[in-house]
């Protein structure tokens, strides 16, 4: 496996949790969904939302045309289970001995349980947080089965008949987007944007991982003298001392492929 990031944005399937009788362990071991999708499974929108998946598969009309949003059941009436969905995909891996693999979800709304090859991990609440899981120990050479059960916000609220700013305001209890209960400019989003709504990736690293570098500049002498300050977290995941060569390199494209170092 090469060091670096691979996007996991293709081949996702989805199904309403109440229509799937199997649990996450069986979905990711003995009974994965069939490809191509067979009901209740459908092609998923990842990154995206449950409502986006339902629209993609023509189970709901486009909520942004005319009054079609009225034809889609609101989570307040359907219950949270209706918009609780399984998402499933597979990916290949072939790690060498000193490599590690992380699964990264840049944002999930609102919480999730992840199953990889029969092993469960919890992705805690919060629409605006990243999840990065070291799954090296549970990875298989070749094909890996990944299922994610995504739950809607804890407090999806109800929409008063007269509408209103943020519906009944219940969504304000959660750390989530608040416009989804409807506003003066916007109809309520029926699933409250439940889903794996931003980038999903797998990253392969060696024993030392770079985490969240921070770049800051300071300016002197009327912007003629400038310093770039950079700080980085480094995580050694091996069981041995890591002697590292750490490099920073700043370039700018001048023209075409000519680079100034």
């Amino acid at each position: 496996a090469e060091i670096g990031k691979t996007l996991l944005h293709s081949g996702w399937l989805a199904a309403r949790s109440t229509e799937v009788e199997l649990n996450g362990v069986r979905l990711t071991t003995t009974n994965p969904p069939a490809h191509p999708s067979v009901a209740p499974w459908m092609e998923a929108a990842v990154p995206g939302t449950v409502l986006g998946t339902l629209f993609k598969n023509k189970f709901v009309p486009d909520p942004f045309y005319g009054l079609q949003n009225e034809a889609i059941i609101d989570i307040a009436d359907s219950g949270r289970e209706y918009y609780t969905f399984w998402f499933f995909t597979t990916f290949q891996s072939n790690l060498s001995g000193n490599h590690f693999l992380d699964l990264n979800f840049r944002a999930i709304n609102y919480s999730a349980e992840l199953f990889l090859n029969g092993h469960k991990k919890v992705l805690p609440k919060g629409m605006f947080r990243r999840h990065s899981l070291d799954v090296t120990d549970i990875l298989l050479d070749g094909q890996n089965l990944l299922a994610v059960l995504v739950h809607p916000p804890d407090n999806p609220g109800t929409i008063p008949p007269q509408g209103g700013q943020g519906g009944d305001h219940e969504i304000g209890k959660d750390i989530a987007a608040q416009y989804v209960q409807g506003w003066d400019w916007m109809a309520p989003i029926r699933d409250r944007n439940t889903g794996i709504w931003d980038e999903v990736s797998a990253t392969v690293t060696g024993p030392v991982k770079i985490i969240d570098p921070h770049l800051v500049s300071s300016f002197f002498d009327n912007y003629t003298r400038i310093y770039l300050h950079s700080t980085v977290d480094l995580q050694n995941r091996s069981s041995a001392v890591a002697d590292c060569s750490l490099n920073i390199h700043v370039t700018t494209d001048i023209e075409g492929s000519i680079c100034l170092v």
């Binding site: 608040q178 506003w183 060696g206 050694n236």
Partner: protein, 229 residues
């Protein structure tokens, strides 16, 4: 002069924080907002090689040299901005998000943000009832010179107002709010277009959240007195 290597030793199972010695630049091209100059971007790459293993990890990011200052003007009550020492007249647009089904493609972001630049705007304000915008959004704001005013997830109508009146101490889990806030800051902080963090829409968050955010986001003293000879 802009390539630097350092040797670091890390104990097993440990995470360390490492600061490179600062890199010096003489008259680098500055990043300017739309209409004031070019949006010069440098590519910063950081890599780590481990003895006996080879390359272990790498990271790349576009970076722009710019200094953004702002303060509330006591006479008008409005917020005044300076970029690279120059006062800038803000022509801004309000933004919730690109699509209600969160179909947030790069192509869509580029089109939307270029449209704002073509309208001669130089700032986008991301409303607190929407989302913390994504790195792709910020990437195109970097490219097209749109400053970003990013609010956290507090609105008057869901947190303290409305009919019936909502919980003024909302959201329920303050610790989770701060965890999400700090993680979002880490996700977006290197974008030159990022101009201002705001606690929420039309109000401040509950006191404990507000003071924690202020404390977390305050400028390090080292950078308060820069631009002196």
């Amino acid at each position: 002069e802009h390539l630097q290597s350092q040797n670091v030793s890390i104990a097993p199972g440990v995470t360390i924080q490492y600061s490179f010695p600062e890199l010096f630049f003489y008259k680098p091209k500055l990043w300017w907002p739309n209409g004031l100059g070019e949006q010069s971007l440098y590519n910063v790459s950081i890599s780590v090689n481990v003895k006996g293993h080879g390359e272990s990890d790498y990271w790349n990011h576009h970076f722009g040299f710019r200094k953004i200052e702002s303060h509330i003007d006591s006479y008008t009550g409005g917020r005044l901005f300076k970029v690279n020492g120059q006062p800038i007249f803000i022509r801004g647009g309000n933004w919730i998000l690109s699509d209600g089904l969160l179909r947030l493609s790069k192509k869509r972001y580029e089109t939307d943000i270029k449209f704002h630049a073509d309208m001669n705007f130089n700032m986008i304000r991301c409303w607190g009832g929407g989302i913390a915008e994504r790195p792709d959004f910020y990437h195109y704001c970097d490219i097209y010179g749109l400053l970003v005013w990013q609010e956290f997830w507090i609105t008057g109508d869901c947190d303290g107002r409305g009919d019936p009146i909502s919980n003024i101490d909302g959201p329920q889990d303050h610790k989770l709010f701060l965890l999400c806030a700090t993680d979002t800051v880490k996700l977006l902080r290197n974008h030159p277009s990022l101009a201002l963090w705001v606690g929420g829409n039309e109000q401040t968050p509950p006191d404990d959240i507000n003071s924690a955010l202020k404390n977390y986001l305050q400028l390090h003293p080292h950078f308060k007195y820069s631009n002196e000879s």
